[in-house]
Amino acid sequence: MRHTISVLVENKFGVLSRISGLFSGRGYNIESLTVGETIDPQISIMTIVTTGDDQIIEQITKQLNKLIDVIKVTDMTELDHVEREMVLVKVAPKQEDKAEVLRLAEIFRGRVVDSGLTTYTLEITGDEKKIEAFIELIKPYSIKEFARTGKVAISREGVKKK
């Protein structure tokens, strides 16, 4: 099963390599990994998407926790959470398809962030399902370049009913 794991780490050199080394050294798979600073510049947050059965995921979270530079590990999959990812895609549709491409962007609440003589660059943000669906639909329109951020995630504050 696929898990989204959020990891708070000390913002020091070498930390990314410790984390990626843990995955490669133990044969775990990384589907995506994002890193960014948090509000506290001494702490970074990594969001790792990985797959494995329960035992492997348990090992991954324990092994991450064991790394000295790791402050906190949260398996978002176990929590109610929000996930987002962004893609930038540069397409070169035929003249007659241009309107359809713009319509697609609109349907997916995307934006045109750049356009050239023959190209549009679209920005789409969403959860995995939305991004995957968009990619499927945009594929026929001659994709020139494609960039994807990988996921970030944050837990939801549940509204408790009494």
């Binding site: 000390e10 390599s17 080394g21 050294g25 348990e58 090992q59 000295i68 402050i71």
Partner: protein, 577 residues
Amino acid sequence: MKLSGAEIFIECLKKEKVNTIFGYPGGVVLNIFDVLYDDKDLKLILTRHEQGAVHAADGYARASGKPGVALVTSGPGATNTVTGIANASMDSIPVIVFSGQVPTLLIGNDAFQEADIVGITRPCTKYNFLVKDVNDLSRIVREAFYIATTGRPGPVLIDLPKDVTSGKADFLWPEKIRIRSYNPIYEGNRWMITQAANEISKAKKPIILSGGGVILSGGHKEVKELAEYAQVPVTMTLMGLGGFPGTHALSLGMLGMHGTYYANMAIQNSDLIVAIGARFDDRVTGKVDAFAPHAKIIHIDIDPTSIRKNVRVDIPIVGDVKLVLRDIIKILKEKGKIQWVEIRKAWLKKIDEWKKERPLTYQKDDIVIRPQFVIEKIYEITKGDAIITTEVGQNQMWTAQFFKFDKPRTLLTSGGLGTMGYGFPAAIGAQLAFPDKLVIDIAGDGSIQMNIQELATAVIHKLPVKVAILNNQYLGMVRQWQELFFRERYSYSHLDVAPDFVKVAEAYGAVGFRATKPSEVEPIIKDAIKIKKTVFMDFRVNWKEKVYPMVPAGGAIDQMLYEEEENKPEKKLRAVK
């Protein structure tokens, strides 16, 4: 007053109460060596290879329980430590390695004798540091010792660029230390501990599986108390030997690939395993799916990642084994009178039958020296009162089987990594930690040649280390596998050309003895012990000897091969090149 980085380094070691370090000089650490030159309180043991320095620091640590320290130069000096560091890492030994590094401005430029040792050792250290500013040095050293010695111990490397050790700063020693992202858990979970105590009192066929963690945490008294109080037999991993007295009636010796018949049978038939500071290595479990099919497993370990890594666990307890065991014992005692002896009678009787059915044995011989006989003799003559190190291979397994370790920290052996060449430098380290104890390396003729240069270290420091070479003229363990599993095709396992070990010893200024007949074994061991010098004993042993019982790799641990099945007509041995 400002001190140089080199001086700060030395002050830090003194603050950590280090008085002996192992090392080897080179360009970028010359300023540190220059400060050491005048220092009266800190002694550097010059080994003859950096691998030897790290193994010696490791042996010092295993024998004494204090961290071992090594100091080497950059580039090749640093890369030579990698085996030693990986070895310490696999066996959770607190070793701190200081490596010189090229000046910070040159890092990354492929400077002369530059190696990215922090990158290279990242996966085989518990943590490592590159010091970029001399003002950080004392804090980093403090953190390194703290990390290496707490929680599940392990090696830490500190890379010291030359401009850091020559730069100047105030010496500030942080007395208190806190690393927000590193908080080992020592106290076990109450609820789990109660569950564990309940299971122990309910079980009909329980067994304790005692590992290296018992020795590292100093929990051997608690293991004994639990075993005796609740009448639970104890088997040990290779790393766990000495954690429970090998001569105790409840001891089943070692389990696993070359474990005793009765230990493996007891595990396979048990209804409860209390695993304490063990990590279920494949050499212990054999085929995991067939391991202890009827047993519930209680697993106590300070490292959460050890739990459920290899085997299913019913009651996981993360914590220091000593503290957790104390809690379990307390709860058991509160349960009031339980007729333990009655409850366990049938189980202990069954185990006794297994013990009688297949004890550990070997062929007695008047003509050829059997390697097991040498170990038995060493045991008899020393009455077990010695620190034993081993190399790797058959010599190691026979030692584990035939020497009875009653006390912790008396067997120093490379368990996880299985490093040939470990035993001799480790013995040197142990002897430096305990100058008055008898220290013996039980070696193979192959392994001893991997760090034989350390004879110089032993001789120059007048260390009375003894090395008992079980000389079978083979990479014996490799030969054994080839005989059993590779149709007797002895591909590159014959050591045709071996040095005359007696002459080698003498050439270095040590003493050399040789025994070719069983009758010579005892007098030689006695003489060697009498002489307060480094001694090599070359025992010419039966080269055909194999380690039994044996669980073939990947088999279930009750599917063992035994010696008597060997009585087939002897085949002629051909060394295939």
